[in-house]
């Protein structure tokens, strides 16, 4: 039962353009969402999060959008840089309960 889905296994973008990574979830009780970035042979690192009381959260080049009615969130990276090339995991949780449910990741490749 895959409660968090990232349907695009990979995405290729040119440097300077926008990268949009998508994530869908099935459990409407999730109320906290996070994005993690993972480089090869390293553990995931926290990138940005959003609570269900918001529909947008921005941190520098990274913005996460949440559409609760569609059970969909997206991560926008503008402008994309080659160093952003990594696997991006979407994760969902219930507030106050640290049991993250992860998607299977999207591999982003940003070419110069």
């Amino acid at each position: 039962d895959q409660q968090v889905k990232q349907n695009s296994p990979s995405l290729s973008v040119q440097e300077g353009r926008i990268s949009i990574l998508n994530c869908d979830y099935t459990n409407s009780m999730f109320d906290y969402f996070l994005w993690y970035k993972k480089y090869p042979a390293e553990g995931p690192t926290f990138l940005i999060s959003i609570s269900s009381i918001k529909d947008k959260n921005e941190d520098g080049r990274f913005t996460v959008f949440l559409n609760k009615s569609a059970k969909h969130l997206s991560l926008h990276i503008v402008p994309s840089q080659p160093g952003d090339s990594a696997v991006y995991f979407c994760a969902a949780a219930f507030t106050g309960f640290q049991k993250l449910v992860f998607g299977t990741g999207t591999r982003l490749l940003v070419s110069p």
Binding site: P44, T45, F89, F97, Q98
Partner: protein, 114 residues
Amino acid sequence: DTAVSQTPKYLVTQMGNDKSIKCEQNLGHDTMYWYKQDSKKFLKIMFSYNNKELIINETVPNRFSPKSPDKAHLNLHINSLELGDSAVYFCASSQDGSSNSPLHFGNGTRLTVT
């Protein structure tokens, strides 16, 4: 100075053996976790400890036994290893175990059971 360190990085062993993976965090966090990433890339929680007390225990075979001697360490011992145990195991920690306290992951231990 690695924040969350786990050893070994690679572990190759035969079916039926017993092995341990060690994890240490120097962030002063209260909560530690073990996650498993299988061949399909699913990253799933196995255990969570808060101040040495077990908080989360997912449906994990009892061949897997976590041990937390203090809040900076959470080791994973696996008995009678099976082929299906082959995966990458990630240790992680967070400040207080709440959902808005980000996880800090180690670099993973790739376990291969032959």
